[in-house]
């Protein structure tokens, strides 16, 4: 723990911190809490335990850390200890509403992390294995799975951000929503490794957990609020740990086919595979996308407010 020099450079990369801007939600905040627990200066509590479990496991903090602090290992070990100590907290892990759950076991089968299992007639989440990707939420036809604190990635949170950005009278240039997977292409907004100066005000970047979690409904909502287009950046299919890239592609194919039938340009919805650490590709893709939809003009008159 002493190798963390508390420079704070990691926290601008963390989607949890970026969503609240409270330092306790940053990777450095987590490390400081753990330090307090180890040194005895802090008493363990549900609040602290929850904070340690609130993480999307994106690994950006570890990559950003110049001092080589193995944050992911440290957090995982701490979580195991907290569970051993009897803390029954859920953080950002997915939880099942057993009253709604139809026991179809789709989520158990699809979870790439083997975090869900069927025990004594109930689906339970292994909180150490769950990577908070949210894929199971999407697969559950009964809407019986939730992530309590989504840090901006839950559908209702995305909806309100879409509304806010597209209806902001101070930004007449707003015309597109870019959904970015929290693992691969999310640039950290102003991370120094990113070609940070080139995110235009024409589009808003919204971080979904895994892009596979992005609902068609959320994409359609963007159009309803006046978006000219929607770009979805996901991991290359073979790099996605959660199987989400394939799912979002299939879903968007369905949507674009529908657009075509309705005589709406299908390139208003675009998907780009952006591997980790290729910000240039993101910038280029986004620039090209904005140019294309710029030439198409508003989609609004075509779709109309539903």
């Amino acid at each position: 723990m002493n190798s963390c020099i508390r420079c704070g450079y990691c926290y601008e990369h963390c989607p949890v911190f970026k969503s609240t801007k409270w330092e306790i939600d940053s990777p450095r905040g987590k490390l400081i809490l753990l330090y307090g627990l180890l040194s005895g200066e802090l008493e363990p509590s549900d609040y602290i335990a929850n904070k340690i479990f609130e993480c999307f496991h994106c690994g950006r903090c570890q990559k950003a850390c110049a001092s080589g602090v193995p944050t992911l290992e440290v957090f995982d070990a701490a979580r195991a200890d907290l569970i051993d100590a009897g803390f029954n907290v859920v953080g950002t892990t997915s939880q099942t509403n057993h009253d709604i759950c139809a026991r179809c076991l789709n989520c158990v089968r699809m979870c790439k992390h083997e975090a869900r299992s069927f025990v004594d007639g109930k689906i339970i989440t292994d909180r150490l294995k769950c990577r908070s990707c949210g894929s199971c939420l999407d697969i559950c036809s009964e809407k019986g799975i939730t992530i309590g604190t989504g840090y901006g990635t839950n559908p209702d949170e995305l909806s309100s951000k879409i509304k806010k950005f597209l209806n902001n009278p101070e930004n007449p240039d707003a015309k597109a929503i870019v959904f970015m997977c929290g693992w691969s292409s999310y640039p950290g907004f102003q991370a120094s490794v990113y070609d940070k100066f080139e995110i235009s005000r024409e589009y808003e970047i919204l971080v979904t957990a895994c892009s596979g979690r992005l609902k068609s409904q959320t994409v359609l909502e963007s159009f309803e609020e006046g978006a000219w287009g929607v770009l979805i950046c996901c991991c290359p299919e073979n790099e996605c740990d959660h199987g989400g890239s394939a799912r979002v592609k299939a879903r968007m194919k369905y949507l674009t086919d529908f657009f075509e039938k309705m005589d709406i340009e299908k390139n208003r919805i675009q998907i780009a595979e952006i591997p980790q650490g290729n910000p240039k590709l993101f910038t280029d893709t986004a620039t090209k996308f904005i140019k294309e939809i710029g030439s198409l003009g508003p989609a609004f008159e075509r779709v109309g407010k539903c």
Binding site: Y9, I32, K196
Partner: protein
Amino acid sequence: MGPIDIELLKKIVGPENVRDNIADRYVYGADASVHEATPHVIVRPTNTEQVQEVMRYANREKIPVVPRGAGSGMCGQVTPIMGGIVLDMKGMNRILEINVKDGYCRVEPGVVDDDLNRALKPYGVFYPPTPASSLIATIGGEIANNASGTRSVKYGAARDALLALKVVLANGECLSLGATTRVAASGYPLERLIVGSEGTLAVIVEATLRFVPIPKYRCLGISNFNRLSDAGDAISDIMASGCQPSMLELVDKVAITAVNKAEKLGLPDVEAILLFEADGMAKESIDPEIEKIKSICEKHGGFGVEYSYDEKERARIFAGRSKLFPSLSKFDDRLASTSLADDMAVPFSKMAEAAGKIHEIAAKYGIVMTAYGHCGAGCIHTKILMDTDKNFQWEAAEKAVAEIYDYVCSVGGTTSAEHGIGLSKAPAFKKEKEAALELMRGIKRVFDPNNILNPGKLMDAPDRWLVATPLRYQIVE
């Protein structure tokens, strides 16, 4: 100070912007320094009126208030040593105006440096102070610490880029200081007094900053030296030659070894490396500068000189320097990289001698220290690598720090180049500025008669940093 009325604070800034549980308070008691202390409550205002309300209340009840930006300071500037309220300014993070015609921008204090530059870029201009931590550093924090970075040799520090400030005084009054014009001749430049005051005089709620054109070309070069003193001579010669480098960086042998060990970059096994850069709108103006710097380096025994305009090449040349900071933490698993004697400034002609002196003092006290820095600005950074478990190492570090700053003062240098004073450099600062301390205290009394704004810092900081607060490290022996 009586009990803090949390409910009242919640009414002022909204319940979602107040945190008073022990976990949050513990996190906000830390920064990048060796210090820690726990505040009573964290309050995150989102506008000026809220800051005023909070200050009125705190002043009435004599509750300490510590304004905080990113919390990336290295000397304990935001350590709330007397508890009280931490005012987290990250909630005020709007860029209010970019006025290209009149050459200024207006921002709230919580705006992140990189964010501002991202917003300025389309206009072809940039805000130059940019410390290494620009991806998290807030403008308010940069002004309060008079921050600068590798290019300060040409572009100056936060103070040079500041035109005007809006501040809230300890009694809640809001004042505009300075002017948005480029020149403002008369009266006391109070806005400049706030720069480097480390939150002890007023709370910054808005800053008007000037910007400069982004240079079209940059050329970066490198020269190796077999003797540190030769590199030192080259530095003073370059600075006296009329050249205007945009960067001039010195990396010493300890740092080279650290980088080679941690990153296997294969830097030459030399005593010192000098990195130099010139920038401008036309290559015709840059080329002669680079040629001149090259010949000065060679005159002083510099070898292996190369330079390039190409971005990739520049990144390659700079790799050693950019990997330096992290390498120090990885230098030796048993040693932690502590933020002590972290910065200082000396005259150009003393750069090499100071680096040598630092090594000598480190050896004497059984700790590891390196010296690197923006030597074009006379700025030296170090870190103390030591076994933080051991009490005797801390005692040695305390002596080493004192001795280093005594030396710095003796050659006409100063305690802080760009990181600030806080707690861990305060003993040296107080020694250096001894004659002016009473005057500073007087100014503080005029601004803040109840001594509620970041009390116990700068001239009022404890005489020994080692016992000023609990240390963030656990000492076992």
